[in-house]
């Protein structure tokens, strides 16, 4: 075991994993994150705590992770290189290790221009792939980026993001391979609506044998309304929402029900894709729906490891 996290044990034992997102509040209330933790505790194997997601300042991911851990929920520490240089990243990795956090997701982060501090200076000292490599070296060789020795263990299950829907498509699997070579033990993908493109990407990944070197968790975004579907289709760079999905949402008498239906159909299809080892549900501002989706997808009860 690299980290001993439940997520690692579930994936390494060949079981289908379920993770979800628990975004911290724009404030200091522990309750917000605790409520999400309680809600999702029994239907997920680990919860990702986002890191100033979409460049909007929120409670730190590390703080959120610790609150979840205190509840007995396993956190995934999301970290973006937009806000921290190599010193801060390594320091936070050690702090998280000391606090018993065992999963980390290494990200670039959305550009600060999108957030609520668009005049901020972006850091981008290292990129997400170099970050993955750095954490792997800290874990496996007990060495900092500069080669100095680290005292103590840094047991992390290292995650990375992948977006099969960004361009150029042919390069997406090469970039996945770079992340796997850098040390990504698991991958959480962008939300999937365009199944044709996802299966094509998975095929390319399998051709390179990547599905055997890393655990790919397929991303899902439950859609609440036609407005949300349209917004994602037109305004979110790197998200591919086919017109068919928008139409289904527009025609639905009960859009929320339709959203759940779409999500469940997607999960059914994903289960059949060779190399998909789990799902990652990003129900931003609709966390309440996650237990139902996991239940109706036939993924309950969650394994105890």
């Amino acid at each position: 075991m690299k980290s001993g996290s439940s997520l690692e044990r579930i994936l390494e034992s060949g079981q289908f994993a379920v993770t979800a997102e628990a975004g911290p509040p724009k404030g200091s209330s522990a309750k917000v994150i605790q409520r999400k933790g309680e809600l999702l505790k029994f239907c997920c194997d680990a919860l990702n705590v986002t890191d100033n997601q979409t460049a909007i300042v929120r409670m730190s991911s590390l703080g959120g992770c610790l609150l979840l851990k205190e509840l007995g929920v396993e956190p995934v520490l999301q970290m973006v290189v937009r806000d921290r240089n190599r010193l801060a990243l390594q320091g936070d990795i050690l702090g998280a290790a000391a606090l018993g956090i065992r999963n980390v997701l290494c990200l670039s982060g959305d550009h600060q221009k999108f957030g609520n501090h668009p005049t901020a200076k972006g850091v981008y000292d290292i990129d997400s792939i170099q970050f993955i490599q750095m954490v792997k070296t800290m874990r496996d060789e007990h060495k900092f980026l500069n080669g100095e020795e680290i005292s103590g263990d840094v047991p992390f299950f290292i995650g990375a993001a992948a977006n099969p829907f960004a361009d150029p498509f042919e390069f997406r699997v090469i970039r996945l391979a770079k992340k796997v070579n850098a040390g990504a033990d698991f991958i959480q993908t962008q939300g999937i609506f365009d199944m044709a493109r996802f299966t094509e990407w998975m095929k390319m990944a399998r051709d390179k044998g990547l599905h055997e070197k890393t655990h790919i968790l397929a991303g899902l975004i439950p859609v609440k309304s036609v407005g949300m579907a349209r917004y994602m289709r037109n305004n979110v760079a790197g998200l591919s929402v086919p017109l068919e999905i928008v139409d289904r949402m527009a025609d639905a008498k009960d859009p929320k029900e339709e959203g759940v239906k779409i999500c469940l159909e997607t999960i059914e299809q994903l289960k059949e894709v060779e190399g998909v080892h789990g799902i990652h549900v990003m129900a931003v501002a609709w966390e309440d729906i996650v237990p139902r989706i996991v239940e109706e997808a036939g993924l309950m009860p969650r394994p105890v490891v």
Binding site: R82, R86, S108, G109, D110, H111, K113, F114, G122, Y124, D125, I126, D127, S128, I129, Q130, Q133, M134, L145, A161, A162, N163, A166, D167, P168, F171, I174, R175, A177, K178, N181, A182, Q190, A237, G238
Partner: protein, 224 residues
């Protein structure tokens, strides 16, 4: 070239409040080429200032002068052969930030003010359009990135791009901005060298990029 853009007129006017004699000083090199601080631009700004100040009944004398380069002492020292610097209480420089600072060094007792915002090292794409190409990072990587710089041109300075926001060749920050990583991939594909990108690009040493403190270049062989 160094590309610069004139500051908003109101800001310039505000900055010279109280001055009685102003020298608007242009620079004949980069900023003249990008049509911000050359002879013509000096004439326009001087005229605008004269008119605006006159409307406010302010009695201000304004002269114009453009020298070859404000980033070179040799040219700055020639100013004295054409005007008497002591005649002015403000020198309004239309050079890049380097020029403004060298003027301040030379004219120790004079107020030197910038009329331009220095923006980037770039190229003239077409008439009226300039764009950034170089960040002056001090350790050129163009040989490894198909001659296209991700430090100057990727919004996240990724060395292992493109990120997940690259769509239809455009950057996630705007549909108006090319994703340089798409351009790099296209170019390497044309050159049949795409495999270059399979290697992980190592972490960059930012110390020559200015993070090691202000930079200086010394050529012993040229020193007098």
């Amino acid at each position: 070239m160094i590309v610069a853009k004139r500051k908003p007129f109101e800001e310039i006017k505000e900055s010279v409040v109280g001055a009685k004699r102003i020298l608007v000083l242009g620079c004949g090199t980069c900023v003249a080429v990008c049509l911000s601080g050359g002879e013509k631009d000096v004439a326009i700004l001087a005229l605008q200032l004269k008119m605006a100040l006159k409307l406010e009944n302010q009695d201000v004398h304004i002269d114009e002068l453009t020298i070859e380069r404000q980033c070179d002492r040799e040219f700055i020292e020639q100013i004295g052969t054409r005007v008497n610097p002591d005649d002015y209480d403000v020198i309004l420089s239309m050079a890049c930030g380097a020029g403004v600072q060298l003027l301040s060094d030379v004219f120790e007792h004079k107020v030197v003010l910038p009329a331009l915002n220095t923006t980037f090292i770039g190229v003239a794409e077409k008439l009226g359009v300039w764009s950034e190409r170089c960040s002056g990072c001090g350790d050129c990587i163009l040989g490894k990135t198909a001659g296209l710089c991700p430090i100057a041109r990727c919004a996240k300075q990724l060395l292992n791009g493109p990120c997940g926001g690259s769509v239809n060749g455009k950057c996630e920050i705007s549909k108006e901005v090319d994703c340089v990583w798409q351009l790099i991939i296209d170019r390497l594909t044309r050159l049949d060298r795409l495999e270059m990108l399979e290697e992980i690009f190592p972490v960059k040493d930012w110390s020559p990029a200015g993070h090691g403190g202000p930079r200086k270049m010394v050529r012993e062989d040229l020193k007098l």
